[in-house]
Symmetry: C2
Subunit: 250 residues, 2 copies
């Protein structure tokens, strides 16, 4: 944990935060906090600052929160993801929050098993738990907005444009048999730090051709990720890293 997150209503007298439960245990047993230590803290959805550990009492850590005067990292990319199996989804949720996903849309695709949509992991509380771990790692206070979409066509043909302005930014979809690589696309479209990117990543086994075509009708450009096939969680991590790098080059 690199950033201790809290909600505004948890603050007592504007400065005192009593950390309990799993987070307190993590601070005591893993971070080994001691009285007087300084921690980085952030208000969920708000700013970041420093806090001082005032007391450690059994299973509670009391910290004094100072002025929060730093802006959080802003999320910069929207991710459309064929819903992966739960074990992989846990990692993707963390990675997405850590690496700056603004909106995560988990969707149906032919190669997604229907049973994944009834996973207990999709309960809102569970999703928030893994996102929070990711934010605490990547030092951001802004939760990605996560939505689940049970039907492919209504999502791609209608809902997507409601969520994300079609005029804005660059829409990309990874597809092993696409002709161009990300490095070529970059040359053509000149990503920069202001570019809004929407990235679509398929299921294990890839998108079906008719799914790719539906995305292309909505201005998504297919690109290939090279000859090595990555597991979905690695693909998301590697692609977000690559896009972030390309944005920083101009």
């Amino acid at each position: 944990m690199n950033l201790l997150l809290f909600e505004r209503h948890e603050l007592i007298d504007h400065h005192l935060l009593r950390v309990r439960g799993e987070t307190a245990r993590h601070l005591i047993e893993i971070v080994h906090v001691a009285q007087g230590d300084t921690l980085r803290v952030g208000e969920i959805g708000g700013r970041i600052g420093s806090a001082i550990v005032e007391a450690i009492d059994g299973e509670t850590v009391a910290v004094h929160v100072g002025v929060l005067n730093e802006e959080s990292q802003q999320p910069w990319v929207d991710l459309v993801l064929a819903l992966p199996r739960p074990q992989i989804l846990k990692r993707v949720l963390q990675t997405a929050a850590t690496m700056g996903v603004r909106r995560l849309m988990l969707i149906r695709s032919e190669r997604v098993e229907r049973s994944y949509f009834s996973s207990p992991l999709l309960a809102q509380g569970k999703i928030a738990y893994y996102l929070r771990l990711g934010l605490e790692q990547g030092m951001s206070t802004i939760f990605p907005k996560v939505t689940v979409h049970h039907r492919f066509r209504p999502f791609v043909e209608q809902e997507l444009d409601l969520y994300i302005n079609r005029e804005q930014g660059l829409r990309l979809i990874s597809h092993p048999t696409a002709d161009v690589a990300l490095s070529v696309l970059e040359l053509q479209h000149k990503l920069n730090s202001q570019t809004q990117v929407v990235l679509a990543v398929g299921p294990e086994g890839g998108w079906r051709e008719h799914e790719i075509e539906a995305f292309m009708k909505k201005d998504f450009i297919p690109f290939n990720c090279g000859p090595r096939i990555l597991r979905v969680d690695s693909a998301v991590c590697s692609l977000l890293g690559q896009l972030d790098l390309l944005r920083s080059m101009h």
Copy 2:
């Protein structure tokens, strides 16, 4: 699994392979193979080709291996990694094998807990198990060479140059407080697909300053990964993705 790996001595009459145990279960229960299906197969350390499923008998899958006439992906990067905790190491081993690590050197650093070096995961068989999962995912037949180094200074000052020719390629070390980003380094050094890269990634909490200095004396160039702090397994995945992208741009 995208590639079924086997050892030459497992082939009966040059063509028959009997797959048993966990791999057979995976083929039956996850891949749902049926008689007549075609699989991609590769001889460990050798070439890749196709095979046909001849029979599924209880817990054994018999496949007929055709001519192996395709070269495997070649590994292209050496990774020096402060030994992470076992759960993270499992993922790094898979990612490293999938994404093309040639040599993985797991080393001591001040912020590495000593107990990690006595993890059962470091037994040769366990390491090979996770590497193999990674190769089967990434479709390569070439195992990364993994070595474990219990002492920091002897490794950096002497052993490293014995493993990897110092004259060759580009040596990079990730360091949150470094002045330059990878995108800037790239402009200065013009990575290309022939460049041999050695990448050093620190422990949670980062390298100590004197460790960075020891690496710099061996021509490692520090670079920062931006303001978001990634967990070690994500950092490895993202950085390998970024370096691979940069190599493909020239």
